[in-house]
């Protein structure tokens, strides 16, 4: 082959060797097994591998991209009139959008909604896709497990940042809220810590980007600690009533409160004293 120092003839000869088939199968199995061993048990290793854009992941990612993304984002992720370019959005954006089921987008609405992932979008496929997009022009990378570990954050500090930066769209408790032109800020309850981090650094849909100079990685971890702490909290006062505040409280006061008391009034007055004839 040209420039490799190995003649075409000798390669051809090796290919025809009786043990070549065995060797190829063994190599493939070894790569698969080794790759799996590297990727599966410890997420951070896989994340690191994606961050560095390992070559074969990139190749796999490209074929996934062509199959599932290119019809809107263009064959080389250059963007079309239907969808923006993905050059420079980074692995974090891909991981956020695909792992939350927002991409591939179902039908064109005001914004992409969280939905169950398609069957092909396994964790591995997403990491390959992310590696491919990362290889196109860099961008924010997927955070490490340490960076998003709620146990290492300070929920009280995170709460203050959360109230200052997030609740004007996502509500006090992350229950979500309305935005203009049919868009909405989604509830934060189903989002994983990694997705929350990625949303902050990539600014999906109508959300602004909170980069590391605005909110440091430690502060982001504090916010994740607050969000995950509050959402798994058992409401001490009974049913949380969707945790959206006075609207549902008013409904309950009228429907349950006034409803029950009206029934009680009807019941009490239904029993009349018999008038003596």
């Amino acid at each position: 082959m040209i420039g490799t120092g190995i003649s075409v003839k000798s390669t051809t000869a090796r290919r025809r060797h009786p043990l070549a088939r065995v060797a190829v199968v063994a190599l493939a199995l070894g790569l698969l097994g080794g790759g799996y061993a590297l990727a599966a048990p410890n997420g951070s290793t896989a994340d690191a591998a994606i961050a560095s854009g390992k070559a074969d992941d990139t190749a796999q990612g490209k074929s996934l991209f062509v199959a599932h993304c290119a019809s809107c984002h263009g064959m080389n992720a250059e963007g079309t009139d239907k969808a923006p370019t993905l050059i420079g959005v980074g692995a974090a954006a891909v991981d956020f959008q695909v792992s939350s089921g927002r991409m591939p987008m179902g039908d064109a609405g005001p914004q992409a909604l969280r939905k169950p992932r398609p069957e092909w979008a396994t964790d591995e496929a997403i990491s390959q896709l992310a590696a491919y997009v990362q290889s196109l022009g860099g961008g924010p990378t997927i955070p490490t497990a340490d960076q998003v570990d709620p146990a290492q954050g300070d929920p009280a500090k995170g709460g203050e940042l959360f109230r200052a930066n997030c609740i004007q769209c996502h509500n006090f408790t992350g229950s979500g809220g309305a935005l203009t032109y049919g868009k909405h800020a989604p509830t934060l309850n189903p989002a994983t810590p990694t997705e929350i981090y990625e949303a902050m650094i990539t600014g999906p849909q109508a959300m602004p980007v909170f980069n590391d100079t605005t909110i440091s990685p430690e502060q982001k971890r504090d916010m994740i600690a607050y969000i995950t702490h509050v959402r798994k909290q058992v409401d001490p006062g009974g049913s949380g009533l969707m945790r959206i505040g006075p609207v549902t409280e008013g409904l309950v006061a009228w429907i349950a409160g006034i409803g029950l008391l009206s029934l009680a009034a009807i019941w009490i007055t239904a029993k009349r004293r018999r008038v003596k004839a």
Partner: protein, 538 residues
């Protein structure tokens, strides 16, 4: 019969000789109260008020109405070490560190919602049955005053915890104060003791919330009850019920038992809600800082209509003589409140003016029998309801996936069109129900018995309505119409010659005309025929 034991007889004689309690009780314990479920609705408010006083007193034992800065070191972890005001910290303390504190706080808040809601349903009952008519206009005015004060009491109450949500409400209150032309800034500085939010507003609201307004509420409620007691309760029309009697159960023992049971029901429902439904979770809202605001910031339901009017209003403002007139805040803050409260207060007098009716009324109207009043009431409910609904337009938008601007635009149309449609529909329903009543009186009730006549014809046997139902229906009274001026044949009376007078005569005719008069003769005839009466099937 045995004589009462000496201990009881002695004590009661002692009291009787000094207080005259015996004759007072003899007169009043046998007071008759009519029986109708809707007459108990006002008691929801009364009993909620008692529960509010009790739970509120409990809360004052720990609540610190201060805006001094403190660091929270209590047991709620997600706020540990956070800077906040004393008021908010003590609310968290009541919630998480006082035994039963959260339950009592929640019961206080639910009781507040039921207090206002109870007043509203009671007021609607009084309105639609015309129970506000002479001689009860003053009691109606006291009721309107009570409702207005309850709104202020609620606003000052939910502002006290100094959490982020209540701060949003306080900020709007300040915005409204500022929007008042010329004196706005002075009012704001006076209310907050300087720049917003300052250090005084919580302790000032506290004095108003626990001392002044409850005191006035208590006095007005007492006046309301005494007037009701002295003027006697109205009753629904029915058999044996006239303008000069009250048919029902005596206060002691029957009505007292019912009222006592209803207090326990109210207490039970409030305890149930306080236990199983979380209300005003201030720990989730966080401490107030003027820089933060959350999506889904709504006031308690009774302030919702003001929130809605603010959200509906286009951004209109202009400058005049160096002053800014912020109509975008001033109009939504004052106009709907003015329409609703002034309209309520004036309605009895406007109705008297239109009908010229100076008689006393002790028997209520069925809502259908005064179709214009019912229609006006429904239009008012629709006006209020649209504003109330639009106060939650962001929750509606995000829950039902309707564009936020669409809700605003629809609301702006509905606020004008909705009441008109409601008026028309309610009026037609009233007339329809009156026709149904007339038919029941003149043709009787379908018995479900089908008869075959000898000639092969099928007929359904109609029976006369039950005596009490017929009496209930016959309770319909004509609405007086002021005389003259309408047909133009004669010279109108003195007061009706001007433009206003002519309008008054016209309105009186529209308001009072009975479109479905009962044909009593026909009823007599049918009654004479009796149970065997038949009517041809259509």
């Amino acid at each position: 019969m045995n004589a009462p034991p000496k201990a009881i007889a002695g004590t009661s004689t002692f009291l009787d000789e000094r207080l005259g309690a015996g004759s007072f009780l003899k007169r009043n314990l046998r007071k008759i109260f009519p029986d109708h479920w809707s007459f108990l609705l006002g008691e929801i408010a009364l009993y909620s008020f008692i529960i509010l006083l009790l739970t509120g007193t409990f809360l004052t034992f720990w609540f610190k109405p201060g805006m001094g800065h403190t660091t929270y070191l209590g047991s709620y972890a997600p706020l540990y070490g956070v800077q906040m005001s004393e008021a908010y910290a003590s609310t968290l303390h009541i919630t998480f560190d006082v035994r039963g504190g959260l339950l009592i706080r929640q019961m206080h808040h639910w009781a507040a919602l039921l207090f206002v809601a109870g007043m509203m349903v009671h007021m609607l009952r009084v309105f639609f049955t015309g129970a506000y008519r002479k001689p009860r206009e003053l009691n109606w005015l006291i009721g309107v005053l009570l409702l207005s004060l309850a709104l202020v009491e609620g606003l000052t109450g939910y502002s006290l915890p100094d959490d982020l949500l209540s701060g949003a409400g306080l900020r709007i209150t300040q915005g409204v104060a500022l929007s008042i032309p010329i004196v706005g800034t002075y009012i704001s500085f006076f209310l907050f003791g300087g720049e917003y939010p300052g250090h005084d507003v919580i302790s000032r609201f506290y004095s108003l919330h626990i001392l002044l307004i409850p005191g006035i509420l208590l006095a007005l409620i007492s006046a309301h009850m005494i007037l009701m007691w002295v003027q006697k309760h109205t009753q629904m029309p029915g058999k044996g019920r006239t303008e000069s009697n009250v048919v029902g159960a005596p206060f002691y023992p029957a009505f007292m038992a019912k009222a006592g049971a209803f207090f326990l029901f109210t207490f039970g429902v409030i305890a149930l809600l306080g236990t199983f439904a979380q209300i005003n979770p201030v720990w989730l809202y966080g401490p107030y800082t003027p820089a933060d605001i959350s999506a889904g910031s709504q006031p308690d339901f009774y302030m919702g209509f003001l929130e809605g009017s603010l959200r509906l209003m286009p951004a209109w403002e202009f400058n005049l003589f160096g002053y800014t007139f912020a109509m975008s805040v001033l109009i939504p803050a004052l106009v709907p409140l003015g329409i609703v409260m002034t309209g309520l207060a004036l309605y009895p007098f406007l109705e008297q003016w239109v009908t010229g009716d100076r008689r006393e009324h002790h028997v209520c109207d069925r809502p259908r029998n005064n179709p214009h009043r019912t229609a006006i009431g429904m239009a008012g409910i629709t006006f209020y309801g649209v504003l109330w609904l639009l106060g939650a337009n962001d929750e509606i938008s995000s829950t039902f996936h309707i564009s936020l601007y669409t809700t605003t635009i629809l609301g702006r149309i509905a606020i004008f069109v909705g009441p008109a449609i409601a008026y028309f529909v309610a009026y037609r329903i009233c007339i329809g129900l009156q026709r149904k009543d007339a038919e029941v009186l003149s043709h009787g009730v379908e018995s479900g018995v089908i008869k075959r006549m000898p000639n092969g014809q099928y007929i359904e046997v109609h029976t006369p309505p039950a005596e009490d139902i017929a009496a209930h229906i016959r309770g319909k009274k004509e609405i007086p119409i002021i005389e003259g001026g309408v047909d133009g044949e004669e010279v109108p009376p003195k007061g009706l010659r001007s433009g206003v007078g002519r309008l008054r005569a016209k309105m009186s005719k529209a308001y009072g005309t009975d479109h479905v008069p009962f044909h009593e003769e026909e009823v007599e005839e049918h009654a004479a025929v009796g149970a065997g009466e038949h009517k041809q099937l259509h």
